[in-house]
């Protein structure tokens, strides 16, 4: 936009100069003996459109405001330069392929704050966004619309305050609009494809309809069916959204970080999961909670899951 404004000023300036020369020529024809003086007067009087000599003399002070008006324009340049320094231009930034491997902590995408542009496999820009964590945002996009994520350009912004981030995003948007003549499809108003939707937390599973109902099947059978019908089941203390002990909290954090689809059961729910704790300890031959089952088999508790997570063994476990 700065460049655009600058160009407009230049255009206007040429236009004014053209007019001035025209009038100057007329003045010369009419007042050849006062050519120099009349030229000066005409120049100063132009904004007012009053060519009479008496007014010309009075309008001399109007020369002063012009130098003052130049200062604000000059001071705007440093700001533009600051924005330019905050992030490379879109055209100068190198594109990185988007893939599940790149989404990981060892991926090439930066996890810092900044601006990013998502290209589809045809090399067309689909969306330009800003984020506090570029890698996380791109990972989220990949999960929701993988067919539109072919590669990404990322511009990290140091000292990312809100204004700087917004300025960086604007500079990339303006650059793209200038080059392509249109807005990226994902940034058009009304397009919600790229908006980060609130994560839908699964509800915890309940083993029974409630205390008032009489069980017709032994609790062991309900547990057995549950862990075999669902690929990953975590029996935890407290609800998934707010685990009540550190070990359960750790397990939920690991499962969420792995992005695995899992079920959770709150063993402290005395209304729907009563008597579950003692029954499950016998069923699994494991004395503590949380307990994690995969493919119907106990994997272990928080320690074992943490150990496998740190060794990078969970991906293969969940892919079986």
């Amino acid at each position: 936009m700065q460049h655009s404004l600058k160009r407009r000023n230049e255009t206007d300036s040429c236009f004014f100069l053209s007019r001035y020369r025209h009038r100057s020529s007329m003045a010369t024809l009419n007042l050849s003996s006062l050519q120099a003086l009349s030229s000066h007067r005409l120049c100063s009087s132009f904004p007012q459109n009053t060519p009479t000599p008496s007014f010309n003399f009075q309008l001399k002070p109007s020369i002063n405001p012009r130098p003052i008006s130049l200062k604000p324009y000059v001071s705007e340049k440093p700001r533009a330069r600051v924005v330019a320094l905050a992030v490379k231009s879109l055209g100068d930034t190198e594109a990185l392929a988007v893939s599940p491997e790149n989404d990981g902590p060892a991926g090439e995408l930066p996890s810092g704050a900044g601006v990013y542009a998502v290209y589809d496999t045809n090399g067309d820009v689909q969306f330009i966004g800003l984020s506090r964590n570029i890698a996380a945002s791109v990972a989220a996009h990949w999960k929701s619309v993988p067919e539109l994520c072919g590669s990404v350009k990322a511009g990290v912004v140091d000292e990312p305050d809100r204004e700087t981030l917004t300025q960086a995003w604007k500079s990339w948007m303006e650059e793209y609009i200038k080059d392509s003549g249109k807005v990226p499809p994902g940034n058009e108003s009304g397009n919600a494809t790229w908006v980060r939707q609130a994560p839908k937390r699964k509800p915890d599973l309940r083993l029974t309809p409630g205390r008032r109902m009489q069980l017709t099947v032994p609790l062991e059978n309900l547990i057995d069916g549950l862990v075999k019908e669902n690929k990953v089941v975590a029996f935890i203390k407290g609800p998934r959204s707010a685990p009540l002990c550190g070990f359960s909290q750790r397990v939920i954090a690991i499962l969420e970080n792995e992005g695995v689809d899992y079920e959770s059961v709150n063993v402290l729910d005395e209304e729907y999961n009563y008597e579950l704790r003692e029954t499950l300890k016998k069923y699994s031959n494991w004395p503590t909670f949380p307990q994690i089952f995969v493919d119907g088999e106990l994997v272990g508790g928080c320690d074992i899951l943490t150990s496998m997570y740190e060794k990078g063994e969970l991906a293969s476990l969940f892919k079986k």
Partner: protein, 93 residues
């Protein structure tokens, strides 16, 4: 009354005959939470889940009073040796 660190050590030594054992009471001395690191030949050929079960079984009586047991390490002497060598090489790297 809670379980003492010495009781935990005694039970593990009696049943698993460890070549290395470290028990830390992380509950400030009230005997409710322990962290365990244990090295034993009895873990040979067993996967992690079974090793943890062996430790749980060895502490069956104590577990009735323990609120939290964290088994940070359950390895064979050979694995323990490898880890020690790995730790020694780290500072040099």
């Amino acid at each position: 009354m809670g379980v003492t660190k010495e009781q935990v050590e005694l039970s593990l030594k009696a049943k698993l005959n460890p070549s290395h054992l470290e028990v830390v009471d992380i509950s400030g001395g009230c005997g409710a939470s322990f962290v365990v690191e244990i090295v034993s030949e009895q873990f040979e050929g067993k996967r992690l889940l079974e090793r943890h079960r062996m430790v749980n079984a060895a502490l069956e009586e104590e577990m009735k009073q323990i609120h939290a047991l964290s088994i940070k390490k359950a390895v064979t002497p050979e694995q323990w040796k490898q880890q020690q060598e790995s730790n020694q090489s780290n500072p040099a790297a």
